[in-house]
């Protein structure tokens, strides 16, 4: 840079400077670069946080209340129909679904997804033989969900269960048991 305001280069009117001194141009350049870096960092942190935030979102657990746990009798699986309300962002949706609830002692409960693991048909409980029987292709499951015969590739899918006081709640998300 040239001119009477002094600089670090070899233009006319310029004095030689020691390496430690920085000229006006170099100072301004460094300031601009530093400020730009700060602005870029602030903007990209904001944008990046916004972009990746779904990965760190707290998810609602959609437990559904199925009523008093005492109403479920040992050895008599019962199909419970329920309506699940789910919130996703600004949309609340309702989904009707069902679960087979089985208990052998009235204390621990197992909830089965009501669709056969073969091709998704709704199966039924046969009280006479104490088995779940699918009417479509005669898949047969025991009260523990295990495959007894037929074409089903894996045991009945289960829902998580928990007791809240004296009430039974399930998380209607089918989990495969292998």
């Amino acid at each position: 840079m040239s001119g009477p305001d002094g600089c670090g280069c070899a233009g006319k009117g310029c004095t030689e400077k020691t390496p430690e001194e920085i000229g006006r141009r170099a100072f301004l350049t460094r300031t601009i670069v530093a400020l730009s870096a700060v602005i870029t960092a602030a903007l990209s942190t904001t944008g990046l946080g916004y972009f990746v935030s779904p990965a760190f979102q707290r998810r609602d657990e959609d437990w559904v209340d199925l009523g008093r746990a005492g109403d479920f009798k040992a050895g008599a699986p019962r199909l419970v129909e329920f309506t699940q309300r789910k919130r996703d962002a600004w949309v609340t949706s309702e989904r009707r679904s069902a679960a087979w609830v089985v208990t052998s002692d009235g204390k621990t409960f197992t909830a089965f997804d009501p669709r056969c693991t073969h091709l998704g048909c709704p199966y039924r409980w046969d009280a006479g033989s104490s088995r779940f029987i699918c009417p479509c292709h005669t898949a047969v499951f025991g009260p523990d969900g295990k495959v007894l015969s037929g074409p089903a590739p894996r045991p009945l899918d289960q829902y998580q269960t928990k007791l809240e006081g004296s009430r039974l709640a399930i998380l209607p998300k089918a989990e495969q048991i292998t």
Partner: protein
């Protein structure tokens, strides 16, 4: 520094640096020199608009059913949602301001004269594009202000002689605003 040298040899970093930081301008001295930053400022805002616009589009739903709710969702639930929308909101305003100021600079300094006529023509096209984006973007929040501003804007367009009704239909997408009642 090694990475910088590597990139310097293989990309046009030096040319970009020269174009941005060491551009030759006629009046480099005093406050007049600042007027030459208006174009860069417009471009900077455009970059911010493009990036924040992309980010907002990941949550926004452009339909009368969901537009308003999705904007409220961005404002209240999404991390930094208010900041990103705020940047886009104010960026949109200042994009118009700086584009017009930049055009005035070019006009009053005569920078559109030979051999720069094509630059001027391109600039007029870009300015119209900015105003178009400004008008259509204003509708997106789908609140009362957005709705009625667009009613007014499209009605004004509808007063054009002969083709007005057609233009208004094109802008509104039908004979009314929003879904048919």
């Amino acid at each position: 520094m090694k990475a910088y040298e590597w990139a310097r040899e293989r990309t046009g970093l030096d040319q970009i640096w020269t174009a941005l930081m060491e551009r030759k301008i006629p009046e480099a001295r005093g406050w007049v020199g600042l007027l030459y930053t208006l174009g860069s400022a417009t471009m900077m805002i455009f970059t911010v608009q493009a990036v924040t616009g992309f980010l907002l589009a990941t949550n926004y739903v452009p339909s009368p059913d969901h537009a308003y709710d999705s904007v409220r969702y961005i404002d209240s639930q999404v991390l930094f949602g208010r900041v990103v929308r705020g940047l886009h909101h104010w960026g949109a305003t200042f994009m118009v301001v700086f584009a017009v100021l930049h055009m005035m600079r070019v006009y009053f300094m005569g920078s559109y004269k030979y051999p720069r006529e094509a630059t001027w023509m391109a600039g007029v096209g870009l300015l119209l594009l900015v105003l178009g984006f400004s008008f259509t973007g204003y509708l997106l929040p789908w609140d009362q202000k957005a709705y009625w501003a667009t009613v007014v804007g499209t009605t004004i367009a509808g007063t054009t002689p002969f083709v007005g009704a057609m233009i208004a239909d094109i802008l509104r997408g039908s004979d009314g605003m929003g879904p048919r009642p």
